[in-house]
């Protein structure tokens, strides 16, 4: 445990910014703000993606009920996807791949990849869903760039 109060981050972009401000660019899983933002945006993108498939022909109450049920369905879909992916990562690890990083970090490839694919599809539709999708894609791109910069500057691998 630590009594330190210095803010540290998980994602590459805030870590790079922290480094520019003279802080630490070391990865930490202790920042609640980061966790909440990433969690909500990831969930929101996937929710909006699946919400497109609810038929517009349904009545008002049916649609409302579908949207509520979808919220739980998306949660279950993510649970299942993360479970299956953990098995895939374990399989890859037995083949000698991804051995240097813990499974929970390797899962980010699935999370970022899936949400980005959903965002690309949402972008086609326009409207405020597309705005959220664009925010996600820009955030992912900036994080990847920041990860590359961090890797080049200090030689550390920046798994983002």
């Amino acid at each position: 445990m630590s009594t330190g109060e210095f803010p540290r981050f998980y994602f590459a972009l805030p870590r790079l910014l922290a480094r520019f401000r003279g802080g630490s660019s070391e990865r930490a899983e202790t920042n609640g703000g980061e966790a909440w933002i990433a969690s909500i945006v990831t969930y929101l993108v996937s929710y909006l993606f699946f919400a497109q498939f609810i038929p517009a022909t349904l009545g008002l109450w049916s649609r409302a009920l579908s949207f509520i049920l979808l919220a739980f369905l998306v949660w279950l879909v993510w649970l299942l996807a993360l479970f299956v992916n953990s098995l895939v990562i374990k399989l890859l690890q037995t083949c000698g791949l991804f051995r240097a990083i813990p499974i929970r970090r390797a899962q980010s490839i699935l999370v970022a990849g899936t949400a980005s694919a959903m965002s690309l599809q949402l972008l086609q539709g326009g409207g405020w869903s597309a705005e959220i999708a664009a925010i996600w894609l820009v955030a992912v791109a900036m994080n990847l760039a920041a990860a590359a910069i961090l890797a080049l500057r200090n030689g550390n691998r920046a798994h983002s």
Partner: protein, 297 residues
């Protein structure tokens, strides 16, 4: 317990799932996941939900039933975060920050030659015990109420002992008089014994007290032990203050004087404990994980 029993609310499946999640899920999926798990348990753990609502009606007099349902949701959400973070500490030893309220009493406790830590089903007592053992390099014995599911109980004991790197020992208060003698011996040998003193379960020794103006049954074990062994009782709570942030709240010790009138001496100690419990639970009702009805109707 049947195979299906593993999936019951108090079954071992959920504890195994949590351990799996700590190893396999990125830290940033927790917030939304825990919101949905809270919804899930809010609906399926109906007895616990009803108990929290009933307890809140007493802790927050004048509060509406509808508001107390929302507060129960918040309590269950805090519980989800607390057990998740305790599992994170146990399995991957991630960093946590903490502040100490009542540092002088904690230092005193750390150096005490035999003491009782009296705590409640509040915040992360698992994490607190591990932290205490780590900070003071001392062994601590935790006395817990038995879990209804045997496999869950075994898992919980193993978790507590693993979190404390071997310095935390768990006893269940089902062993009757033998455990009392064992604890007395431990206290006389200078050990620290931690007991949850906010509710009684099963056939354990109990004392009637008043909490928030209502009659409650509390365990009398800690007070009898303190009186017989002549050791202080340190009220200690671990409250969650935010994402992987905790506060250790330690109060001035309760010292039971042996006047020869055992009933009165114990009642005096219980009265002091109830005052502290009221203050702490009143301020942090959303972290009081009393999932059984506490107050007499």
């Amino acid at each position: 317990m049947s195979r299906l029993g593993r999936f019951a609310v108090k079954g071992v499946f959920w504890r195994h799932y949590l351990d799996w999640a700590v190893i396999n899920l990125p830290f940033y999926v927790y917030p939304v996941q825990l919101v949905f798990f809270t919804f899930f348990f809010f609906f399926f753990a109906a007895p616990a939900r009803r108990a929290v609502v009933a307890n809140l009606a007493v802790v927050l007099p004048g509060s509406s039933r509808a508001m107390n349902y929302l507060r129960a949701f918040r309590t269950l959400s805090n519980f989800a975060w607390t057990i998740s973070e305790a599992a994170i500490h146990k399995i991957i030893k991630e960093e946590f920050s903490y502040e100490i309220i009542g540092a002088e009493w904690l230092e005193q406790l750390g150096a005490a030659p035999g003491a009782i830590v009296l705590t409640a089903h509040m915040g992360s007592y698992d994490l607190g015990a591990a932290l205490f053992a780590e900070k003071f390099h001392r062994e601590i014995r935790i006395v817990r109420a038995p879990e209804p599911d045997r496999q869950s109980a075994e898992h919980l004991s193993a978790s507590l002992e693993q979190a404390g790197d071997g310095a935390v020992k768990v006893d269940y208060n089902t062993a009757g008089a033998l455990l009392s003698f064992d604890l007395l011996k431990a206290l006389r040998a200078g050990e620290i014994v931690s007991i949850q003193g906010d509710r009684v379960e099963g056939e354990m020794g109990q004392v009637t007290a008043r909490l928030f103006g209502h009659k409650v049954q509390l365990p009398n074990g800690p007070f009898v032990l303190a009186l017989v062994a002549q050791v202080p009782i340190y009220p200690l709570f671990i409250a969650r203050f935010g994402f992987r942030r905790y506060a250790i709240i330690v109060h001035e010790p309760i010292r039971l004087e042996n006047t020869g009138d055992r009933e009165r001496d114990i009642a005096n100690g219980v009265g002091q404990w109830c005052a502290i419990l009221e203050e702490t639970v009143g301020a942090r009702w959303d972290q009081w994980f009393a999932f059984t009805p506490i107050f007499a109707r």
